[in-house]
């Protein structure tokens, strides 16, 4: 426009057109910058972590993954929405439709970030085993604990999101990690006092997490009629119990005695959050009116689903994953029938049977949706 000014003595190009040019340039820059932030930034962390693992520096590699997780969290939770609204504001100023603009698709940014997050999730899960085999240096944060916690959350999301492949990849290192934590934190003294009991409850918390998630694996498998979800979970347990059958009594003891009776259990808030999300999912199931005991009976409603377990959990707000896992899997393992798995687990099969009968009765009475 300097030339225009020199030629005309004034600028004829109107302000809206100048804005279009500036916004177009900014849109191009934004598109390129966001792509660089997502792809180059993520690859930088990945490559750095991989190089450290190859050099047997797993704790340093964990530190990099920790920062990478923070990077992606901030990117997905804050920055991508800002970039999207910025891109939208640039598009809103556009006047000229025939001026070629970069094809900005914020949904592709989110998709790309999700792709890198999936790789990070697996890398953190793989690090659980690497960190379990290595002595934590003095003064280094508890990356093993962090990655076990993150992997638990990721496993829950994979089950809820019906991603059997991801669940299968995560549960194996997760199981190994929780058992390592239990082994490290369980009380060494056989003296049955209050401190020993507290230590046991602290050590049992991560094991209760995986038992809870395994139960949800069974529930979601039936809820979604997706056998692969349960196969991903049960396959890992089958192989583990085949190699370590002596673990079964420990698991029974953890379920019955691993939670304090009159106080909030360790990691109880995490498990309650999972439970609420399960309930939200179950609340989406359709319902129908029902009547029990003939024409003078009681009116009520039934959840419509082919699985008795899904119907039962949806109807009675029953979503204690570890009881489901104990009742429908652990108690049926060799030697598991003789062990005490707690009241919730022992009552569940009978409750399911009754629910099935009531549902069939309702179907015969021709209940309406």
């Amino acid at each position: 426009m300097r030339m225009e000014l020199e030629v005309e003595g004034t600028i004829h190009t109107p302000v809206w057109y100048q804005q279009d040019l500036v916004c177009k340039s900014q849109a191009e820059s934004l598109s390129e910058s966001v792509k660089t932030i997502i792809e180059s930034g993520s690859r930088f962390f990945q490559d750095w972590s991989d190089r450290l693992v190859r050099a047997n520096r797993v704790w340093q590699s964990s530190a990099v993954l920790g920062r990478y997780l923070e990077y992606l969290n901030k990117l997905e939770q804050y920055h991508l929405s800002f970039f999207k609204s910025y891109a939208d504001s640039l598009k809103a100023t556009r006047h000229l439709r025939d001026l070629p603009w970069p094809d900005i698709k914020p949904e592709l940014w989110s998709e790309a970030a999700r792709g890198f997050r999936e790789k990070l999730i697996r890398a953190m899960a793989d690090h659980i085993v690497l960190l379990s085999l290595s002595q934590k240096p003095e003064g280094v944060p508890d990356y093993l604990g962090q990655f076990i916690h993150e992997t638990g959350e990721n496993l829950f999301n994979a089950l809820l999101g019906r991603r059997a492949g991801e669940a299968q990849a995560l549960i194996k290192p997760y199981l190994a990690g929780t058992l390592v934590l239990f082994d490290r934190m369980k009380p060494s003294s056989p003296k049955p006092d209050v401190w020993t009991e507290q230590k046991l409850q602290i050590a049992a918390a991560p094991v209760l997490d995986i038992l809870e998630l395994s139960g949800y694996g069974k529930l979601f498998s039936e809820l979604y009629a997706d056998g692969q979800l349960w196969a991903a979970v049960s396959g890992v347990w089958d192989r583990f119990l085949e190699k370590s059958p002596g673990t079964l009594p420990w698991l029974a003891a953890i379920i019955t005695g691993g939670t304090p009776r009159f106080q909030l259990p360790h990691r109880g808030l995490v498990r309650t959050t999972w439970s609420m999300r399960v309930q939200q999912e179950l609340n989406r199931l359709p319902q129908r009116n029902s009547m029990r005991g003939g024409t003078s009976g009681i009116f009520g409603s039934d959840v419509i689903h082919s699985s008795p377990l899904a119907r039962y959990c949806a109807r009675y707000d029953f979503h204690n994953g570890r009881d489901i896992f104990a009742a429908l899997y652990l108690s049926k393992q060799p030697g598991g029938g003789e062990l005490d798995w707690g009241r919730g687990a022992s009552d569940l099969p009978e409750s399911l049977r009754r629910k099935e009968e009531a549902y069939e009765e309702g179907e015969q009475n021709g209940e309406e949706e």
Partner: protein, 306 residues
Amino acid sequence: MGKRNSSRNKRNALHFVSPGAYDTPPLYRHMFQEDVQLMGHFSRSRRNEKPSLRLEGAEEEVTRATSVCASIAGDRHYRGEENISGAIENVVLHLAYDGKALFEVVDDPENSAFSLSSFNPDYVWNLVFSYLQVAPRASWKYLDRKYTVLAKSAVWRVDMPQELGGARGFRSVLKEMSAWSSLGPEFYQHDLERRQLPKEFVFGDYRKAHQIQLYRATREWGWNGRDWSLDYITEYYQFYRHLTFKWAQAVLREHIAGEFHSLFRRLGISAQIVVEGLSSPGDVLEVREQMRAGALDFAGATKAIR
């Protein structure tokens, strides 16, 4: 029959070639003159398209007007529209090279018709009631006279319209376009001829300055120097100039049609040229204003102009 007192029955003007007429003109000046000359081709109808020009009036008057036009239309055409088109192109051709066109009006009493004969506008002095034409010394040996006096009543003069700077303004534009060589300054060209590339001289800067000077000289015309690149300007400014050029074409078109009407009136011919289906200068300015306001995009603005 119309009046006959405003003409002569024989040609009186001197016809010669100006010194330097065959010299190679500067490139951009030549291109500009060609493009201005092409402005006169608006009346040529395409296949299956209605001609944009026609003569209106009584049949006899139209015949007389056609005869006047045919005298400068180059090849004589059967259709009146083609004769008037050819005459307009001839006038624009002279305007493109000199900024003004001079025609001697010759009366042919036997055929009750007038004809036009162009003569060189150089070496002509405008006196009060007449034009004094003095031939350049180099052409004296080819002529029977060294000078002649032409009564103004026997001359039809068409100047570039005032909106485009008039004849003097146009010649000034041509002079400015001849001032800079597009190939670089003389010392640069001499160095190149000696196969030496001067390191201190940045040709890109020269080219930019040359384009600024070119655009500045043709600002009123909106000529783009046949350059559709966007090296130094915005696309908007490029279209702005494109529409300005279209406006100049419309101004020239209306001006020449008006001059023909004046000529016909002088010769007592009751006919007039009607232009149809083409944008007027006001129309073009309206489109340019709509484009400025963002109501029309570039493609829409291009389509809106004919």
